[in-house]
């Protein structure tokens, strides 16, 4: 599988990572190399093989749906790069 520059730009956009234009070609090469490497999995017969969801043979535990903790607004916000009035501040999203 070979990825072109436009596809890499599209993936970068989906991943919300700004990639400078002059790095796209090099990145396309590297990603194509990795994809070519992983394509060998096509050789493996996986007919009727269930995709692994968990390595440990256990079902997920359930807990009671109840409040057990909370009241940490200031602690939660303490690492926010920009906060105000008990909220995170984001760039303007509506005109």
């Amino acid at each position: 599988m070979s990825l072109d520059k436009a596809t890499v730009a599209k993936i970068a956009h989906l991943a919300r990572i700004k990639v400078p234009d002059d790095e796209l070609d090099h990145l396309a090469g590297e990603l194509s190399q990795i994809l070519t490497f992983v394509e060998q999995l096509g050789e493996v017969d996986t007919q009727d093989v269930p995709p692994m969801t968990s390595v440990a043979a256990q079902t997920l535990r359930r807990r009671k749906d109840e409040v057990t903790d909370g009241g940490y607004r200031d602690a939660v916000l303490s690492n926010g790069p920009e906060t105000a009035e008990g909220f995170y501040v984001v760039p303007k999203v509506v005109e």
């Binding site: 993936i11 919300r16 990572i17 400078p20 995709p51 535990r61 790069p81 760039p91």
Partner: protein, 493 residues
């Protein structure tokens, strides 16, 4: 009292119990050692004041007769574990300034048992790497590098991603360190630096409060200088945690009690597929030597087959980036760490993530995003999960014929910084022997087994049945004793 930094954990516990020295004295010696090894760049954050305060409290507990199983032992913490009030970087620019408001379960367990924190150690960015050369905070240099410290003739890598942990323990600046292992990040650096590292069964150690890389693979474990120390530290790290949905509710054995040295009649699986093409002669030789040692101790080697071994790396390099791309979506410039402004919310996201992630992390997020995207999900991600099932089945079959599996840990000794850096696949091949057990969730340990022709450490890997760390540790100690490696790094505190 420099001798204190060369003790094993077991010997330090003895000395503390006999009042030969105090936890404060032991910690002071290590704080000084941490300063001495600064040329290695092993620590991202040193916490000497906290260490001494913890040591003081430890001495007070001991005086009251309340000593825990790791009472007074100074250790280093991989900077992937959240530590309350102490910067936690994951070696990434994007976590600049992040000070967790909470403590990870594993480190909480260690402090509960009396351990003392010396600081936070370096790693590959978000634990993605096999050489500790992707950290935003700089490369870690192995204490095994030849030449004068700080002016080495060749700068060797300590392995990765737990490279700071490995370097600090090997250079005698910490009695042990926490590591995390997603595809070999405890075992490979342990092998490169001549120490012991065990990744327990998936589910043994809580992942709560550990910065996530690939959640179905990530597992914490200890890195120490002896197998006995690994048993001591593992016991403190493990345990059921309701806050981690994959934490397993099983009692934690006294791993130290499992070190009986008696492996008579044990069947040791030797997977024929691990004799990979182009395996260096000295790697093959140390493996054969390991088989011989176990035979002499009364174990019986049996050839086993793990037919899907050759597909493990490819499987890993789909599953791990896919999970990483999802886990790392949380770094959005809003809630913690770095923020680079932009004209719109979307621009702010893209600018922050563009500036905050290093090249290897970016590469893996992009691969992960691609294999999870519409139209490719089945062909890549689901296919990889199916092959992962077959890899697990291989191990299930193998463990019908054997009790433990012996392999080399890494395909070479440590290489120099700058080598293998142009080609990502070449770097990924470092993990060829460690990745399969990660995919299958099995316990795996690297034990020092000798030195190569270049004088650098070689490790052997033991893999066990799920939740049978005890057999892994017991057999590991037999190898450790038979190998009796005396070589030490040229640079030590």
């Amino acid at each position: 009292m420099t001798g204190l930094t060369h003790l094993t954990m077991a010997a330090a516990l003895d000395g503390l119990a006999k009042k030969e020295f105090t936890a404060v004295e032991l910690t002071e010696a290590h704080v000084k050692a941490v300063e001495t090894i600064r040329p290695l760049n092993a620590f991202i954050t040193e916490t000497p004041e906290q260490a001494l305060a913890m040591a003081k409290a430890s001495d007070a507990r001991r005086a009251k007769g309340e000593a825990g199983p790791m009472e007074g032992l100074p250790i280093a913490v991989k900077d992937l574990f959240c530590t309350k009030g102490v910067p936690t970087t994951a070696a990434s620019h994007i976590l600049d300034g992040f000070k967790p408001e909470y403590e990870s379960t594993v480190t909480s367990n260690l402090w509960r048992d009396g351990a003392v924190m010396l600081g936070k150690v370096n790693l590959d960015e978000f634990a993605m790497g096999s050489a500790n050369i992707t950290s935003y905070h700089g490369n870690v240099v192995s204490p095994w590098s030849p030449g004068e410290a700080g002016n080495w003739s060749r700068q060797l890598v300590p392995g990765g991603s737990s490279g700071g942990s490995a370097a600090a323990v090997a250079a005698r600046a910490a009695l042990g360190a926490t590591g995390t292992d997603t595809g070999g990040s405890i075992r490979q650096p342990a092998a490169f630096t001549g120490i012991v590292g065990i990744k327990p069964t998936y589910g043994r150690c809580s992942r709560w409060g550990v910065v996530a890389f690939a959640s179905s693979l990530d597992q914490a474990g200890p890195m120490t200088r002896t197998v006995e120390d690994a048993a001591i530290m593992l016991r403190s790290m493990c345990g059921f945690d309701p806050k981690d949905s994959t934490s397993v509710d099983l009692p934690v054995p006294d791993f130290r009690a499992a070190l009986t040295g008696d492996i008579r009649g044990l069947k040791v699986g030797i997977p024929k597929e691990y004799r990979v093409e182009g395996m260096p002669a000295e790697i093959a030789a140390i493996w054969d030597q390991g088989i011989e040692w176990l035979k002499q101790a009364g174990a019986e080697p049996v050839e086993i087959s793990l037919p899907h071994t050759k597909y493990a790396l490819a499987t890993y390099y789909i599953v791990a980036p896919a999970e990483a791309s999802s886990n790392l979506a949380r770094y959005d410039g809003l809630r913690y760490g770095l923020r680079v402004e932009g004209a719109s919310l979307k621009d702010m996201y893209e600018n922050t993530r563009g500036a905050g992630f290093g090249k290897e992390v970016r590469r893996r997020i992009l691969i992960g995003t691609y294999v999870l995207s519409a139209g490719y999900y089945d062909a890549y991600y689901n296919k990889a999960r199916q092959v992962r099932t077959r890899i697990k089945w291989d191990f299930d079959e193998a463990f019908k014929q054997c009790d433990v599996i012996l392999t080399p840990t890494a395909p070479s000794t440590a290489f120099a910084i700058g080598e293998k850096m142009d080609d990502p696949i070449q770097m990924y091949l470092n993990d060829v022997f460690t990745v399969p057990a990660s995919l299958a969730g099995l316990p795996g340990m690297s034990v020092p087994a000798g030195v190569g022709s270049d004088g650098l450490p070689l490790g052997l890997q033991l893999l066990g049945r799920p939740f049978d760390e005890e057999t892994v540790l017991r057999v590991g100690q037999v190898i450790e004793k038979a190998a009796a490696v005396t070589a030490t790094p040229p640079f030590m505190a």
